[in-house]
């Protein structure tokens, strides 16, 4: 076991890693390179379905009910079979209607009704709370298992773990999920963090499973053999075989089939966070594969725990307890992190989803009714932060209150049953044209009430909040209304009982309400739009024949005022301009009725992305963008269009379908094309910048080469004249001799500088041949003369593979590096001499294998460099020496890069420097050259 402090430190470091990953992804997205726009990330993020419940609770379920945990994952596999039709439709509708949540989706279909949205929000909120509570329970209970009994500082951590985790979750969620109001409600950073978490939890669970199955036991066969040999009394009641088992199996299957799409968080990652329909294709097989893998060791772990003599009632923690008690501390920490990943991912996405629904569908309508709260519209973001915090806190509070009454799996299933209530209205909404608002309200409302009464209320009773008599005798002693035996049905298990009655009421009243109450014209249009989503897109009604008489300035002001109710003035202005741009009227002063309709459409869509379609519609209605005259004229336009077509209604429908289909395809292609153009433009820009840079360097190089060449001639004359004078005055006085030697030295220095400049700017391209490095290197080092006090060491690895290199050019590299090293150690030696400190200068040249290539290192224990010097060391003309050219390392890098290799530098001030050169392996090198 570990102490609490270590575990919380590891957890914080892990969360920090996720946080940095998410921020990096967000930054990339802001630069236009979305890493989340990827089918693998999309598929992995769907793994959020496997929460703390899967991670710990499935083993618990397997230990008490055998294979009954499996339908929770078989159900989603069933649903996935139909994704290409169902999910693709949902995604297409989301894109065209700017849907931000499951409540928004239902509301958008049913006449953009605020009442429907509010009801769906309440269901999502109440249904999500138990599930968030479940995640807190998973983190807190496993923390207490993995840590040893607390003392000192640990006591404080153990006692405050809950609040610490709550704070972490709130901060993390707000920063990554609610930092700003995004019209698309997409959170690339958060989605990437969730995808990474899903990968970690899969890896951790598989590691635990392999350890239990193959290290604690001798594989699957051994486990099954032992469990069959165990006397039944020892496992009595663990594997249920009665008839209710079959009914329960089917109940779980139905619940899970709907939960994979209609749990609010699943809807969010599946539909709202979807970047492209084609990502569904990968998710269709990768996500079921993920579920299969994460479940394959559930039963072995459960059997392993039972065979080791653990209590089946504590089986939720087998996956952690088995490695821990076997002394595998770090495996246990990995398992704990996997469990924490499963739990935190769910908490973050769920809280964001529910908070968005609360602000858009509960708060904003209330603000609309109570004028005194109108200022809150401008504080939408802060309201959302409060909602996120509230949702997480209530989840934690629920865990404290009711958590001890149930095992994990029982809590999770309450949420599944709540999500089931969304299934009829959503599926009905996208496949049944006659489904309407009244039916949706009746179905959703009744289903929710039955769920609350038959499943959640008994949970409260078991937590001691309500008297037991309610379950035993019903309210007011009416036994027919007992929550778990509604209308006298006593043969069904509580869960099956809830599913049966809630679905019966939900579907029944949805159909009945839809058939009994008429649809409005607008609702019919929406129904048509939703049902035909895969073959249609919003109609185009532009016509150039209408008179432009409407004053655009007035309309612009109305639109800006409308945005101003929810956003600050700058954002309002930007959004207004965007809408004008979308309507193609930004340059006009007067517009036609058709253009006004376009503007209206653009404003509604933009607003819906931030506050939901129902609130957007209400706000637009209140803003009164159309006057009575304009509304009348718009109706006339539609009537004219219909009259002029002269076709039968069926033919008209077919034609509209055909053109809308074409429009949808064109829009999609245009978007893809635009994406490609942006990408190519970016690449082109980068290439152009590189070309300009090279051209400049080339011109500079030519100039330098000419000047250098011209300087060499006079230098030669000076040198020969000095030589002549030296010969002539050979026996002259000491002073003259000294000055002549100085001329000779300075001319030599100038010549070296010119040589290096020419090498850098005009040097011939490398011409590589295969060869052995060690003998060549030995030869160079033998020829080099270094001061006697400096030890030139060599450590050359034997049996190095041959590489392609230009012997002459690379010779320059080695000489430059060794000379630099010698100068560094000499400088330090001189300094040591002044202070009297003991110092032994040494330069070491090492060779070793690096992948398919060879690494040459020149290491010294000289003066080293500070950070700033090291940063500029390879830049041309940068030097810290009084007489250096500043080209030595620049030439090294140039030559090494010509070989397709890499050069790196490690240094520490006053400790020494190591420069490493990597020359790639034979074939690669040859290709490069």
């Amino acid at each position: 076991m570990l102490d609490s402090f270590s575990v919380i430190t590891v957890l914080c470091m892990y969360m920090g890693f996720l946080f940095l990953t998410a921020l990096w992804v967000e930054r990339k997205s802001a630069e236009g390179r979305s890493l989340v726009n990827n089918p693998l990330v999309y598929s992995l993020s769907l793994g959020i379905y496997c929460t703390g419940w899967t991670y710990y609770g499935s083993v618990g379920k397997a230990a008490t009910s055998g294979l009954l945990f499996v339908p929770i994952y078989l159900g989603p596999t069933l649903a996935i079979v139909l994704w290409w039709t169902v999910l693709r439709k949902l995604v297409r509708i989301k894109t065209s209607h700017h849907i931000t949540s499951i409540a928004d989706f239902i509301s958008a279909r049913y006449n953009k009704s605020q009442t429907v949205a509010a009801l769906a929000t309440v269901i999502a909120l109440i249904g999500t709370m138990p599930y968030i509570a479940l995640q807190f329970k998973a983190i807190l209970s496993t923390f207490s298992i993995i840590t040893r009994p607390a003392t000192g500082m640990d006591t404080w951590i153990a006692g405050h773990l809950g609040p610490v985790v709550v704070c972490l979750m709130v901060v993390f969620t707000i920063i990554l999920g609610s930092r700003r109001l995004d019209p698309t409600e997409r959170h690339p950073g958060l989605v990437m963090a969730v995808a990474v978490e899903c990968l970690v939890k899969l890896f951790a669970f598989l590691a635990a499973g392999i350890f239990v199955t193959y290290f604690l036991f001798d594989g699957f066969g051994d486990l099954f053999k032992r469990i069959e040999e165990t006397p039944p009394a020892a496992l009595a009641g663990l594997w249920q075989t009665d008839k209710s088992h079959a009914v329960e199996w089917m109940t779980y299957l139905i619940l899970a089939t709907s939960a994979i799409m209609f749990l609010p968080r699943q809807f969010h990652v599946l539909v709202v966070e979807n970047f492209h329909e084609k990502h569904i294709k990968t998710a269709m097989w990768l996500f079921p594969l993920y579920m299969l893998l994460i479940n394959i060791f559930v039963l072995p772990i459960a059997m392993g725990g039972l065979l080791k003599g653990y209590n089946a009632q504590q089986a939720d923690t087998f996956v952690l307890a088995l490695p821990l008690h076997a002394g595998q501390t770090w495996l246990s920490v990995l398992v704990f992190l996997g469990g924490a990943s499963a739990a935190t991912g769910m908490i973050m996405i769920s809280s964001i989803t529910v908070a968005t629904m609360i602000t858009n569908h509960l708060l904003l309508p209330v603000v609309g009714w109570i004028k005194a709260l109108a200022f809150l519209r401008r504080q939408l973001l802060k309201c959302r932060w409060v909602a996120v915090g509230g949702v997480i806190l209530i989840g934690y509070w629920f865990e404290r209150q009711v958590g001890e009454s149930y095992m994990l799996v029982n809590i999770g299933i309450i949420s599944f049953a709540a999500a089931l209530q969304f299934a009829p209205v959503i599926l009905g909404g996208i496949f049944w044209r006659r489904g309407n608002k009244a039916g949706a309200l009746m179905g959703l409302g009744s289903g929710f009430l039955v769920w609350f009464y038959t499943l959640l209320l008994p949970a409260f009773v078991r937590s001691g909040w309500l008297p037991d008599t309610l379950l035993q005798y019903g309210p007011f002693g009416i036994t027919l209304l007992r929550p778990e035996n509604l209308f006298g049905i006593t043969t069904l298990a509580p869960l099956t009982h809830t599913v049966f009655w809630s679905l019966l009421f939900n579907i029944g009243l949805y159909v009945l309400g839809s058939l009994y109450f008429p649809q409005s014209e607008e609702e019919q249009g929406l129904a048509e739009d939703f049902v035909g989503a895969l073959t249609s897109s919003p109609p185009i009604t532009r016509s150039g024949n209408r008179e432009s008489y409407i004053d655009l300035a007035g309309k612009t002001k109305s639109v800006r005022d409308l945005f101003g109710q929810y956003f600050d003035s700058h954002e309002s202005l930007v959004m207004t301009e965007k809408c004008l741009d979308l309507g193609g009227i930004e340059q006009k002063s007067r517009i036609s009725i058709l253009e006004l309709a376009e503007l209206h459409n653009a404003v509604e869509k933009t607003l819906a992305g931030s506050i939901g379609s129902a609130e957007a519609r209400r706000a637009l209605h209140q803003a009164g963008l159309f006057t009575d005259r304009e509304a009348k004229e718009l109706s006339e336009v539609y009537a004219e269009i219909l009259a002029s077509l002269k076709v039968t209604p069926q033919e008209l429908e077919r034609k509209i379908d055909y053109y809308q289909e074409r429009e949808a395809l064109l829009t999609q292609h245009a978007a893809e094309l635009e994406e490609k153009v942006t990408e190519r433009t970016r690449d082109l820009k980068a290439a152009q910048e590189e070309l300009i840079k090279r051209e400049r360097l080339s011109v500079l190089g030519q100039l330098t080469a000419i000047v250098s060449h011209e300087l060499r001639n006079p230098l030669g004359v000076i040198r020969s004249s000095a030589f002549f004078l030296f010969r002539k005055l050979g026996g002259g006085d000491e002073k003259t001799k000294k000055h002549l030697q100085r001329i000779e030295q300075q001319v030599g220095l100038c010549d070296a500088i010119i040589g290096e400049l020419l090498e850098y700017t005009r040097g011939r391209r490398s011409s590589t041949l295969p060869g052995e490095i060690n003998p060549w290197l030995e030869d160079i080092l033998d020829q080099m003369s270094t001061p006697d006090s400096v030890a030139l060491l060599r450590s050359l690895a034997p049996l190095l593979p041959p590489v392609h290199f230009d012997e002459e050019k690379m010779r320059r590299v080695i000489i430059n590096l060794v000379e630099n090293a010698v100068q560094a150690v000499t400088a330090k030696e001189n300094a040591s001499g002044e202070t009297g400190a003991s110092y032994k200068p040494s330069v070491k040249v090492t060779t070793s294998i690096a992948g398919r290539g060879i690494r040459i290192e020149v290491q010294d224990n000289g003066v080293g460099m500070d950070h700033e010097t090291a940063r500029h060391a390879f830049e041309p003309l940068f030097t810290t020496r009084a007489r250096g050219t500043g080209l030595g390392l620049a030439i090294v890098r140039k030559i090494v890069e010509e070989h397709g290799g890499k050069v790196s530098l490690q240094t520490e001030s006053d400790a020494g420097t190591t420069v490493a050169v990597v020359i790639p392996g034979g074939s690669q090198s040859a290709e490069e050259s």
Binding site: G66, L67, L68, V70, P71, L74, T77, L78, I80, V81, L82, W84, T85, F224, I227, E228, P232, L235, W239, T241, K243, H245, A246, V247, W249, M250, L253, E277, K278, K281, T282, M284, W285, P288, L289, L292, I296, L299, L665, Q668
Partner: protein, 70 residues
């Protein structure tokens, strides 16, 4: 091969596959799960599940052409 692809990409085939899966993972299976057959049931479920995943892979690959043509 093209015929097989055409089959796999049809919505009607998906519906059929849905009901086949419902049969594989549903009622008959649920009534026969007990302790004596635990190992057999375990093997059956995971083998069947793997086959369904494989089929889903083929279904998703068959959609490629449709999508590309779009």
């Amino acid at each position: 091969m093209e015929r097989l692809r055409a089959l796999l990409r049809q919505t009607e085939f998906h519906v059929l596959l849905f009901f086949v899966c419902l049969f594989l993972f549903g009622w008959p299976l649920a009534t026969s799960a007990d302790l004596e057959q635990l190992e057999l049931m375990f093997v059956y479920i995971f083998v069947a599940w793997t086959i369904v995943v494989l089929l889903l892979f083929l279904v998703s690959r068959s959609q490629k052409d449709v999508d590309d043509s779009e």
